[in-house]
Each structure stands twice: as structure tokens, then as C-alpha cells.
């Protein structure tokens, strides 16, 4: 998750729950709408949003880096071999290119891109602690909040531990390069100590948390992270829901 830019963009200031609602509404709208044009429009708008959040470069890299390979793959699979294919566009010799499969593949790709794009923007503009604080304040169990935050924090910590263990084992003569078998054999001397030391770490964490009253029930927990719902949040939420309802109605009308 992004640690945040020095100057806060309007996207960053939004309540994390608004951003989650945006993922849900935009993704669902794309999924429901009978063709891919709406999704394409949303993706183009999201490029603008990414620009507003000052993450346009990495955003574009993510979208194209994911979009192009999966499009190729799905156009190949669905375009050439979909059982739905009836209208044949081209005959490639070993297989026939069908219109229905291509449209189906386009729909999947665009839906995935909308989800990926909204998700990416939320990730890059939301501090993880703030998201968990927003979730707990809206009624999620604080222990679940702990699980999410702790999982996010524990990984970089274990990375460092792995690096230390790798150096120690290399000094001992464990080969981490070479043939496939040699590399596979190196897996256990590296992974074993990571697991063992993590388990002792878990024990320490458990005791620390218990001494701080983590398992106590019926107490109000406080947080230093303030989550606010601004006017922009309220309007945006209303707008998103109206948008979703409108898309549902239009989709139903288009199918009849």
C-alpha cells in the first residue's frame, strides 16, 4: 500500500469506504452492462482520476502490463475456440476466428481492467491503517482489523529475516544458485529457520497482546487515526449508487 504523497490529492482525502464503494459500483456496472463500451469509458475516466492522484505513470504501467498479455491470451482462447462462436470473421487455417468469442473476451478483459484500475487507485491513495480504522468504525470486528494490518506488516519483516538467513546459510555453504535440484534443495535450509523463528515471534506477539488487554471484550477501543466523512464523500457515494441503479435499468431495457 502506498505511504502517501507529501501533498494530499483530493483522491487521497476521500474516506476509504467511499473508494471501496466505487470499486463495487463501477465494477458491478461494467459486469452488468451488456457490451464493453461502458467499461472502456470508465477505464478512460479512471486514467483521469489517476492523473488527479499523481499516479498516472505507474497506473498506466499496471493497466497495460496486465491488459495486453491477458487480452492476447483470452482473444486466442475465446476467439478461436469458444463453443459460442457462430459468426466467423477469419479463417486462420488451424482454427476459425469467431465474433462471439472475441466479444466475450473483450467483455472479460474490460471488466477485469475496471476492477484492477479502481483497486489500484484505492491501494495507492489509501494508508492501510486508515482503511482498517474506517472499517472498524463501520462495525467490523477490531480483531479482524488486527489480522489485516498485522498480515500487511509482517511480510516486510519476514523479508528482512529471510535475507539474514540467506546470508547465514550461504556462509555455511548452502548453494542458492546452480541446477534446479540444487536450488530446490536450498529451499528447506532457508524456509525452515524462517518458519521456526516466526513461530517463536508469534508466541511473543501473543503474550504482548494479552498483557495489553487485546482479548478483553466490552471495551471501547480508541485509535489515533481520524477518519472523516466529508461532503465530497457524501455526494460521491450518492452519485455512485445512482450511477449503478441507472446502469442496471438501462441494461434491463437493452436486453428486452
Amino acid at each position: 500500500m502506498g505511504s502517501g504523497e507529501p501533498v494530499k490529492s483530493p483522491i487521497e482525502k476521500l474516506n476509504p469506504l467511499t473508494k471501496m464503494l466505487a470499486i463495487f459500483c463501477l465494477g458491478l456496472a461494467t459486469l452488468i452492462y451488456p457490451n464493453s463500451w461502458l467499461g472502456l469509458g470508465i477505464v478512460i475516466v479512471l486514467f483521469g482520476v489517476a492523473g488527479m492522484a499523481h499516479i498516472l505513470k505507474s497506473f498506466a504501467k499496471t493497466i497495460f502490463g496486465f491488459g495486453i498479455p491477458i487480452s492476447l491470451m483470452l482473444f486466442f482462447i475465446q476467439g478461436l475456440y469458444s463453443p459460442k462462436n457462430k459468426t466467423i470473421i477469419a479463417d486462420l487455417g488451424f482454427a476459425k476466428l469467431g465474433e462471439e468469442g472475441l466479444l466475450y473476451a473483450a467483455k472479460i478483459v474490460i471488466t477485469l481492467l475496471v476492477f484492477l484500475a479502481t483497486f489500484y487507485i484505492m491501494n495507492q491513495t489509501t494508508y492501510a491503517g486508515k482503511m482498517v480504522a474506517a472499517l472498524t468504525s463501520s462495525g467490523i470486528n477490531p480483531q479482524v482489523g488486527y489480522l489485516i494490518l498485522a498480515s500487511l506488516n509482517v511480510v516486510p519483516q519476514m523479508h528482512r529475516r529471510l535475507d539474514v538467513i540467506k546470508e547465514a546459510q550461504e556462509a555455511r555453504g548452502v548453494e542458492t544458485t546452480g541446477g534446479l535440484w540444487a536450488r530446490l534443495k536450498a529451499y528447506i535450509p532457508l524456509m525452515g529457520p524462517v518458519v521456526m523463528s516466526s513461530l517463536t515471534d508469534a508466541q511473543e506477539r501473543g503474550m504482548t497482546l494479552e498483557t495489553r488487554g487485546f482479548a478483553n471484550t466490552n471495551v471501547k477501543r480508541t485509535s489515533y487515526i481520524e477518519v472523516t466523512t466529508s461532503k465530497a464523500d457524501t455526494y460521491l457515494r450518492a452519485g455512485l449508487i445512482i450511477f449503478l441503479v441507472a446502469v442496471i435499468i438501462i441494461s434491463i431495457l437493452m436486453r428486452w
Binding site: 483497486f119 467490523i140 480483531q143 498485522a150 534446479l180 524456509m191
Partner: protein
């Protein structure tokens, strides 16, 4: 989203375990992810991202293992790519199958480990293939698995068959290695440590 499901899950998890089990979950998620990272560091063509789930299944039982699988995929979706989110179902099912088979005592000997391996491979193949086909239309990007799928598709012309068999081959190998590694690691965990959890291994000696 799936946060509602999780709060219900957390309630059932809380019933069967206390803080001790709770703090193990993020650690196991970490082990899963580090296992995957180590694979790419060593340039192994595998995933090996289930070690934490297996270890926690031994220590705290099936539902905690399932929660650990769910969180692993949630984390992958957050930091890597939301494509991994629907596959959370696969991780949850694998955690449950592993957990219940271990609870039934199958991890006490090597034969049982083989049975668990085959059961998890089957669960993983079926559920992951169904998600790949019905959510993604056959592939989730260009990787070794989807290239095998494409090659099979070109010769057999059947999408369902191609996705299933490429996933089956990949899973058989990957899960075999994962279970061997997890089994070896679990053997090395001191008995004293295992005995403080509701362990399914502790009473065999």
C-alpha cells in the same frame, strides 16, 4: 464485499481459538507469501505458497487454516493484483481440506501425507479451473500455466479439458513439493511448542 463473510468467520474462529491462535494467522500468511517469494528468488518454476496454511492447519485446525488462506489471497490482491481475489475461494477450500484431513490424523505417517496431497491437489484443480473458466474465460495472463493451456487447446480444441489438465499437472507437482517441505518443517518444530496448541500430531510418541 467479502468483509461481511469474514466477520462471520471471525466469530466462529474466535469460538475455537484465543489470542494465541489469532496471532499465528498473520504469521502463517507471512510464511505463505515468503514461500512464494523464496521460489522466485531461487528461480523455481513453482508457487509453494501453501506452507503457512499447512503449518497452521496442524497447529490450530481447519477453520483457522481457511481464514489464513483467505487473508493470503486478500493480501496478494491488495499488493500484487486483484486477479487473485476470486481464487481466495480455492485457498479457503484447500485450507479446510488440509485441516480436516490432518485432524483425522493423516499427518502422522507418510501414507497419510500422500492422501492429503492428492485430496488437496484435486480440490485445488477443480475449484481453480472453474474460477479460471467462468470468471476469466480461460486464462489470467501470460504465464507457464496459460501457455500449456493454449498449447493443449490448439491440439484438443476443448477449453474445459485444456484448463483442467494444465492446472492438474501444475498442481500435482507443486503440491507434492509443498507437502514434502511442510512435512519436513513440521517434523522439526519442537514437541514442546506443538503441545500448547490443539495439535493433531503431538500424541504419536
Amino acid at each position: 464485499m467479502n468483509f461481511d463473510k469474514k466477520s462471520a468467520l471471525s466469530r466462529s474462529v474466535k469460538v475455537q481459538s484465543a489470542t494465541k491462535s489469532l496471532v499465528l494467522i498473520p504469521i502463517a500468511v507471512g510464511i505463505n507469501l515468503i514461500g512464494g517469494t523464496l521460489c522466485s528468488t531461487l528461480k523455481l518454476p513453482l508457487f509453494l505458497d501453501m506452507i503457512g496454511t499447512i503449518v497452521i492447519a496442524v497447529l490450530s485446525g481447519p477453520w483457522v487454516a481457511a481464514l489464513c488462506g483467505l487473508l493470503t489471497n486478500l493480501f496478494l490482491a491488495l499488493v500484487a493484483n486483484p486477479v487473485y481475489l476470486p481464487y481466495a475461494l480455492v485457498s479457503v477450500l484447500c485450507g479446510l481440506v488440509t485441516g480436516y484431513l490432518i485432524k483425522a490424523g493423516l499427518f502422522r505417517n507418510k501414507f497419510g501425507v500422500v492422501v492429503t496431497w492428492l485430496a488437496v491437489t484435486l480440490t485445488n484443480t477443480v475449484s481453480a479451473s472453474l474460477i479460471t473458466i467462468f470468471v476469466y474465460g480461460g486464462a489470467t495472463g501470460v504465464n507457464s500455466t496459460s501457455l500449456v493451456t493454449a498449447a493443449l487447446l490448439a491440439t484438443t480444441k476443448k477449453i474445459m479439458f485444456s484448463v483442467f489438465s494444465s492446472s492438474m499437472v501444475e498442481n500435482l507437482i507443486d503440491k507434492a513439493i509443498v507437502f514434502v517441505i511442510a512435512y519436513l518443517i513440521i517434523q522439526r518444530i519442537p514437541k514442546k511448542f506443538l503441545s500448547q496448541y490443539s495439535s493433531s500430531l503431538g500424541d504419536d510418541d
